[in-house]
């Protein structure tokens, strides 16, 4: 290995590569892919922003940054993303904590998991539409139930509500494995030393969750910054936000540059939050899974009244979700919602004939994206936390770019970059798959990173000191430990492949189309029935697939290990 005497300077930088060829190869492949699917499209897009007729120009940027309405939209976006991040993380934590520490019966946990998944596995604007039906001037709740008149549904409150409801499951999914991984013996020890439950929560449990909380806030903040569909339907004209403005600028004003500028502006807060989170989280130390075995019965970590309050809160949120989706199911089964409530299966007939191509295309694309995205997330997250190689921080930042960028801009960037040679991919399924992998894989990366920060490095060091190569150590030691993160990543990529729209609305083509695009189209064409039927279908497909894999996962359960009961939460 060290047959060549390492010289000073450049060779020192290459020492890592010689020591571990598997690592070198993996890092190089990842960089190649990141370069092609993250850096290259963004570079092409930036070129489009700053190159005007062959020379450098900032005129386009200046015009938009001095427009008072765009500036207002920028602050609105930040406010909304912050509130969604806070509210969503709070709700997600309450759910995760209740499930992990509430001592609930298994079937309740399964039921909660099911309901919580609903917003995640349907296109975001489906809750938005159900909100309009429920809270508008003639809303089922505001008008029919409460008799209120002149209520406005459009604005920040309902956008916040809808986005928080849509994205809090991400926080739940990110926090649940972390809470599950915190050895409850530590809490037990603190209590037996005389600390109250509240004190244990405040000084033991909560601090241990901080990487997870920060991680979840970051994910939700980015998700909100990227979401154009919910504000498109709910924000109205009084509360413009940047992603929607960018989308309208591009699709409506044919102004690719203007839209690109607006979106590039969004990158600034996304990166700022990311840097903040890294700095903050890295100041803390969180090892609770060590080589020294522990595995006693969990203790009663919450007081009965707290438990009931938590369960009550979860129940209330769950009821709201179930109500919104029951409305959707109903709309798919009647002739015309609000006008003709005669029962029909006709809308399902329509989607399985005219819409069949969209269904097939979506399934093929999701089938590709899921394993690739899951693998990518765990691999990159693992390398970044555990391996020393040049540019690893840069790799982490670059890997987050497509997630943090509004989907609109990723879609347009891909369209510009991959429409012409040298890399002509537009119109293929590959470009959509790549978009999903690099846009939603980061969920797996973040979860892996947060989880690995809790696992003591000594486990891996032991393996390596016994002579195992880094590939073997990863496969035999680390992978089993981070399986929950792998499956969380896998699940999120599959779900998003079935439900995302903001980037891929620009990537669908004459050969490949997607269910979500059909849904949005149907909604604007007054075909609410088929739109609702498509949404119900998406939900059923995702439930079936996730359920099937969950079942298959039972064989992962081994004596003494944490049972992998649910694909997403486990």
């Amino acid at each position: 290995m060290a047959s060549v005497a390492p010289a000073a300077g450049p060779a020192r930088g290459l020492a890592w590569a010689r020591q571990d060829p598997a690592l070198t190869a993996t890092v190089l492949v990842l960089w190649l892919l990141l370069g092609l699917f993250v850096v290259f499209p963004l570079a092409m897009l930036t070129a489009r922003v700053f190159w005007d007729g062959g020379h450098f120009s900032v005129a386009g940027i200046g015009a938009i940054l001095t427009d008072r309405h765009q500036v207002q939209a920028f602050w609105n976006s930040l406010l909304l993303a912050t509130l969604v991040g806070l509210l969503g993380t709070l709700v997600g934590f309450v759910f995760a904590f209740t499930v992990a520490r509430g001592g609930l019966p298994r079937w309740v946990v399964t039921a909660v998991d099911g309901a919580v998944l609903l917003p995640l596995i349907s296109p975001p604007f489906t809750t938005a539409i159900a909100m309009v039906f429920s809270f508008g001037p003639r809303g089922l709740i505001t008008y029919e139930l409460l008799g209120l008149k002149g209520v406005t549904v459009y604005g920040m409150t309902s956008t916040l509500f809808s986005e928080a409801l849509t994205y809090f499951p991400i926080a739940y999914l990110a926090l649940r494995p972390i809470l599950a991984a915190i050895d409850s013996n530590i809490e037990g020890m603190a209590m037996s030393l005389g600390a109250s439950r509240m004190r244990v929560f405040r000084t033991v449990t909560l601090p241990l969750c901080i990487p997870g909380l920060a991680n979840s806030f970051l994910l939700l903040f980015a998700a909100s910054l990227a979401d154009f569909a919910t504000p498109l339907i709910l924000a109205g004209n009084a509360f413009p936000v940047l992603p929607t403005q960018a989308f309208l600028q591009i699709t409506g004003m044919f102004d690719l540059r203007g839209g690109a500028v607006l979106s590039l502006v969004l990158l600034v807060p996304a990166v700022a939050v990311f840097v903040l989170q890294r700095y903050w989280v890295s100041q803390r130390f969180y090892v609770t899974v060590t080589g020294k075995g522990a595995g006693q019965q969990p203790f009663e970590s919450v007081a009965p009244w707290v438990r009931w309050a938590l369960v009550g809160a979860c129940l209330a949120v769950t009821i709201v979700i179930v109500y919104l989706y029951a409305l959707l199911l109903y709309a798919s089964l009647v002739m015309a919602f609000g006008a003709n409530h005669a029962f029909t299966l006709g809308h399902y007939g329509v989607i399985f004939t005219e819409g069949f191509k969209a269904i097939r295309d979506t399934l093929v694309i999701a089938g590709f994206s899921m394993p690739l995205g899951g693998l990518y997330g765990v691999l990159l997250g693992y390398l970044v936390v555990r391996k020393a190689f040049p540019g690893r921080r840069t790799m982490e930042v670059v890997s987050m770019v497509n997630y943090a960028l509004p989907g609109t801009i990723v879609g347009i960037a891909y369209l510009i970059a991959f429409n012409d040679p040298p890399v002509e991919l537009a119109g293929t399924a590959l470009v959509i798959v790549a978009c999903y992998v690099f846009r939603y894989g980061p969920t797996g990366i973040r979860t892996t990173i947060a989880l690995l920060q809790q696992i003591d490095r000594s486990l891996e060091e032991a393996s390596q000191s016994l002579g195992a190569a880094s590939g073997t150590t990863f496969r035999r030691v680390t992978l089993p430990l981070i399986l929950p993160a792998f499956f969380a990543g896998l699940g999120v990529v599959f779900i998003r492949s079935m439900t995302a729209i903001s980037a891929t609305i620009f990537l669908v083509s004459i050969s490949w189309t997607l269910i979500t695009v059909k849904i949005l189209e149907n909604m604007t064409e007054l075909s609410l029935g088929p739109a609702a039927a498509f949404s119900v279908l998406v939900i059923v497909i995702v439930f079936v697939v996730i359920g099937a894999i969950s079942r298959g996962l039972r064989f992962f359960r081994a004596p003494g290990s944490e049972p992998v009961t649910s694909l997403l939460g486990g």
Partner: protein, 346 residues
């Protein structure tokens, strides 16, 4: 460590299970057939599909299409300029096509019907031809009118009534051709006096609950009573009514504009011959005679095709005027920008 080994072994087996079907799928990617014409349709799918089925029946040529709203379709054709993926841009208000001419994305073509079409239904050089005509209408919710003791609006000024405060939905001029036609209608009824026209639009602003992304976006809220009314293309309004929503269609006595729906051949199309055949067919009575059969309430552009009696009855006493293509083309961008600055974001 035994556990870890077992888990890892099973993990790799699972990955193999996932990878195998993926490889099969990769081998089965579909390829485009030779007798197929590729189309971006701006007409919604439920109207475009029956038309394309009729076309296939008549000619044996299959149509492979995706639907986009006018702005998106145009942005796409422009983005794909160096490597066009479709042969024809089908439907959409003619301002969309007018904007495309400047980008040089169309191949001029004059179909056999060209000579017969009135001047406003064709571009002089054949950059586009019209396949239908689509007037705007006022559409209001019947229950809303009754509750507020209102008559269906019969004048542009009726929409300024305080009962409509925060209750109107209509399209956003940034994305929708419907909105652009609406703005030019207001300009026409005010004798193209821009100051007066914008004065009216600003006075109407407090009554607007939402400017929607697509032209038909407000029809469902009006149908459901979430909004009291709005201004829509007749084809969307009659469709709302046909679905069973209790809405009233009316026209302003000052008059209201109508937009031609156009078709155009894409420059550099891979199947130009098939594209021309589709244009021949769509601009002729062959297609436009089937509109009524499929309950698609566009007015035919070809003078030999009679307006369906039900549709004719709706527009019988209405004062409808065409939007002047030259005037609209020359001022479109400026008017939309002014609308954004003065009406949308006052």
């Amino acid at each position: 460590m035994k556990i870890a080994q077992r888990l890892a072994g099973k993990a790799s087996r699972l990955l193999a299970l996932v990878a195998a079907p993926l490889a099969c799928l990769a081998a089965a990617l579909p390829a485009a057939a030779a007798d197929t014409v590729n189309v971006y349709s701006i007409w919604p799918e439920n109207w475009a599909r029956p038309m394309f089925q009729e076309f296939e029946k008549a000619t044996g040529i299959k149509v492979n299409f995706v639907r986009f709203s006018s702005g998106e379709a145009l942005a796409r054709v422009i983005a794909e300029k160096n490597n066009p993926r479709v042969d024809v841009l089908f439907g959409g208000p003619v301002e969309t096509h007018a904007a495309g001419i400047k980008e040089g994305i169309f191949e001029p073509y004059k179909p056999p019907s060209f000579a017969k079409l009135p001047a406003r239904f064709k571009h002089p050089e054949g950059q586009w031809v019209a396949i239908a005509d689509d007037p705007l209408v006022f559409m209001t919710n019947a229950k809303f009118l009754k509750e507020n003791n209102l008559q269906p609006p019969a004048s542009w000024n009726d929409l300024l009534h305080p009962a409509y405060k925060n209750m109107l939905q209509m399209a956003d001029a940034r994305t929708s051709g419907t909105a652009v036609t609406r703005i030019f209608s207001v300009l026409e009824v005010n004798g193209r006096d821009e100051a007066k026209a914008f004065e009216y639009m600003k006075k109407l602003r407090p009554n607007i609950q939402l400017y929607t992304k697509s032209g038909g976006g407000g029809t469902l809220p009006v149908g459901l009573g979430q909004a009291g009314g709005g201004i829509f293309f007749i084809v969307d309004a009659l469709d709302t009514k046909a679905k069973g929503y209790d809405v009233v269609i009316s026209f302003p006595k000052e008059g209201i504009g109508t937009a031609a729906e156009a078709i155009a051949l894409i420059k550099g199309a891979k199947n130009p011959e098939l594209g021309r055949k589709l244009i021949d067919w769509a601009s002729s009575p062959a297609m436009q005679n089937t509109l009524a059969k499929h309950k698609i309430n566009f007015l035919p552009a070809h003078p030999d095709v009679a307006v369906e009696p039900g549709l004719a009855a709706v527009i019988k006493d209405a004062k409808i005027f065409p939007i002047d293509a030259d005037y609209a083309g020359a001022n479109r961008k400026r008017m939309v920008e002014r609308w954004i600055a003065e009406v949308l974001n006052p």
